[in-house]
């Protein structure tokens, strides 16, 4: 395997991805990602110098609109999906000591 994923890299990716992995999952992920990157490295066979990265197939322009609310007050409906709520708001664990 050409791409060897270090413990540090997996740790870092876990932080970026906001995932908590068990040790077994980390080992699995290191192997998986290494294998995928080996495969993806196939792209290096292609000469892409001077080729613009294409994020969208068609020319896209931002769609502007007036900043007006059109869908009414849906607070109650929306809060129904909240895992926890309090006083008409989403309840989350304490963030400021």
């Amino acid at each position: 395997m050409a791409n060897v994923i270090s413990d540090e890299t997996i740790e870092y990716v876990g932080i970026l991805a906001k995932l908590e992995l068990t040790d077994a999952e980390k080992e699995e992920a290191k192997k998986d990602m290494g294998r995928m990157l080996d495969y993806i490295d196939m792209l290096n066979e292609l000469d892409t110098s001077g080729v613009e990265p294409m994020s969208h197939v068609f020319a896209m322009n931002n769609v502007f609109r007036e900043d007006v609310v059109t869908n009414g007050d849906e607070r109650e409906k929306i809060l129904k999906n909240a895992p926890e709520q309090k006083d008409g708001s989403f309840k989350v664990p304490k963030t400021v000591e």
Binding site: M33, L43, L46, V51, F58, N81, P83
Partner: protein, 569 residues
């Protein structure tokens, strides 16, 4: 009843219009078939019996009042479970959205509703549409109606299986890398992935936003053209929506391919392609040739690079799109955690399955500083080259013809052990998404094991009509075949499938209406949840369907929990 289920969506719409079939009668026929076939197929995550029957009455009234006159008015439909439906559970087949009830409806589904559609329920899929087998669902595996030992394909496997098993008259799917075309091929049905931007993505739970596109799945090309005509719309709520004035797709339903230039990429016929699939594809090409098309082989190039480019781009977009699932606003929140960040991490780690985690991590990695240029930008440059290769091909050809998948449906459990091998199965479909092109699968035969083979037709951007015309002309040469399960279930005998085969019941008729408990997949204990969650049940369970209803009532919620427990690794 049996006659009704055999009809295509457009045929049924015609009978409803002429008052030969009632809307409620059609809905009851589909719901009866759902009860009969679900224990084997498990195409649905949610079936809304009560809602569908109520809606059927409303639609009938509006048809009678002359307000609904379209070809699909009153026809029952199934929706892939990644499209938001107001008031109806929408899970993306993920534990993290196990109880999510949207407050709004996806634009494509709204367009169907405006045309008088009756929604039967939501279909199973690979979790967040990431997969090619519908085995990564947190709510159990969908089986191929042609042979329940095989996968239906994915990620729109539930939608395709439901159409094949006559558990709906048509369905909506979504296609990010082949998720409409590949399962259509495996299930022997027809599906279109339209040009990017043709159908609004508003309300489609995003996976790879630059690639995702909603499309129709049905029994034939006529249905698909009619459905696409209804769901295509310019929508300001989707910034990638494209205004088009050429969406009269049914005008292309002509049995005439004289002079049509059809190219077969040699790259699609080489190593890795199953011999029987190849023979069926080439036989289909000959039929179009006999009808007057000019068919030749050519070199498309770059085909093998589409897969690595796709997995970089799709994973990168997924890692960003799926960051919204954090246990705050909806879905699963971990029960134990220390502080906010740990709550995010625990909720996500408990809520996402292994394939989703794999792609989120890969995506986070390729977007991270130091790797962004080498992986992400390289993939976007490759995408530009692939687009150019197609542009060149479409200077010479009206339609590109090839297989939808290198093989017919694999056996259950064969694919997930080797993700890379599974990804390679997407080789003929993926580049179409990268280039934003329309593509369609039309059934073109079966292999020696009796599994369907699908023909893929690819058009240039905005040229759906070319593939619809070619697909329609080809389809004229054969008759639609449905799997055995459609015939067994119709007679209500169900001889082929015994109770021991029941692996999942999409709800328990004993619990019926007012059903309030719902188990989190993979949890050993049931949990009482919000009232609104109760929709994951076969609504009200009156014995409308005779013996088939009995079969359902003997399945139990325990077996559902058990099977999902096993699935949710």
């Amino acid at each position: 009843m049996s006659d009704i289920l055999e009809m295509t969506a457009v045929q049924l719409g015609g009978k409803i219009k002429s008052r030969e079939v009632g809307v409620a009668e059609a809905a009851r026929a589909a719901l009866g078939q759902i009860r009969a076939a679900e224990p084997v197929v498990h195409a649905y995550v949610t079936v809304d019996e009560a809602g569908a029957l109520k809606r059927a009455e409303e639609v009938q009234k509006r048809i009678d009042a002359g307000e609904l006159t379209g070809p699909l008015a009153g026809v029952p439909v199934a929706i892939k479970d990644n499209m938001c439906t107001e008031g109806m559970l929408t899970t993306c087949s993920s534990k993290i959205l196990y109880n999510f009830v949207p407050t709004y409806t996806a634009e494509a589904v709204r367009n169907l509703e405006k045309a008088g559609a009756v929604i039967l329920g939501k279909t199973n899929m690979d979790e967040f549409a990431m997969g090619s087998t519908t085995e990564t669902s947190a709510f159990g595996v969908t089986k191929n109606p042609w042979n329940p030992d095989h996968v239906p394909g994915g990620s729109s496997g539930g939608s395709c299986a439901a159409v094949a098993a006559n558990e709906c008259f048509y369905a909506l799917g979504s296609d990010t890398g082949g998720s409409i075309r590949q399962p259509s091929s495996f299930c022997g049905v027809t599906g279109i992935k339209p040009t990017y931007g043709t159908v609004s993505r508003y309300g489609l739970i995003a996976y790879g936003s630059s690639l995702d596109q909603i499309g129709p799945i049905a029994k034939d090309v006529t249905d698909c053209a009619a459905i696409l005509e209804v769901i295509a719309s310019y929508d300001r709520k989707d910034s990638t929506s494209i205004p088009r004035d050429d969406c009269n797709f049914t005008s292309a339903l002509q049995d005439d391919v004289k002079g049509m230039r059809i190219g077969i990429p040699r790259d699609y016929l080489g190593e890795g392609l199953d011999g029987e699939v190849k023979a069926a594809i080439l036989a289909a090409a000959r039929i179009l040739e006999e009808k007057g098309a000019v068919v030749e082989e050519f070199d498309l190039s770059l085909v093998e690079y589409a897969i690595p480019a796709y997995y970089v781009i799709a994973s990168a977009e997924a890692s960003s799109n799926l960051s919204r699932f954090d246990g705050v606003k909806y879905g699963l929140r971990a029960k134990e955690y220390e502080g906010l960040h740990n709550m995010y991490k625990r909720s996500r780690s408990e809520g996402f399955g292994p394939e989703v985690k794999r792609r989120i991590m890969l995506g986070s990695f390729v977007l991270s500083s130091g790797y962004y240029d080498a992986y992400y930008l390289k993939a976007l440059r490759t995408k530009a080259l692939i687009k150019k290769a197609f542009d060149k091909a479409f200077e010479k050809y009206d339609v590109i013809l090839g297989p939808a998948s290198p093989s017919t449906a694999p056996k259950l459990g064969e694919s997930l052990s080797d993700p890379l091998k599974m990804y390679l199965g997407d080789i003929y479909t993926i580049s179409v998404n990268l280039a934003g092109l329309p593509g369609m699968t039309v059934p073109c035969g079966k292999d020696s094991r009796g599994l369907p083979i699908g023909l893929q037709l690819i058009g240039d951007c905005f040229k759906e009509k070319n593939i619809i015309r070619a697909g329609y002309a080809f389809e004229r040469s054969r008759t639609y075949e449905s799997p055995e399960i459609t015939r067994n279930a119709q007679t209500g005998e169900n001889n082929m499938y015994t109770k021991e085969n029941l692996t999942y019941v999409a709800g328990d008729s004993k619990q019926a209406a007012g059903y309030k408990t719902d188990s989190i997949p993979g949890d050993s204990t049931d949990r009482i949840t919000d009232d609104a969650v109760g929709s994951r049940t076969v609504g009200n369970a009156e014995s409308r369907t005779g013996s088939t209803a009995d079969i359902m009532s003997e399945g139990n919620a325990g077996s559902a929990a058990e099977s999902t427990g096993k699935e949710a690794r």
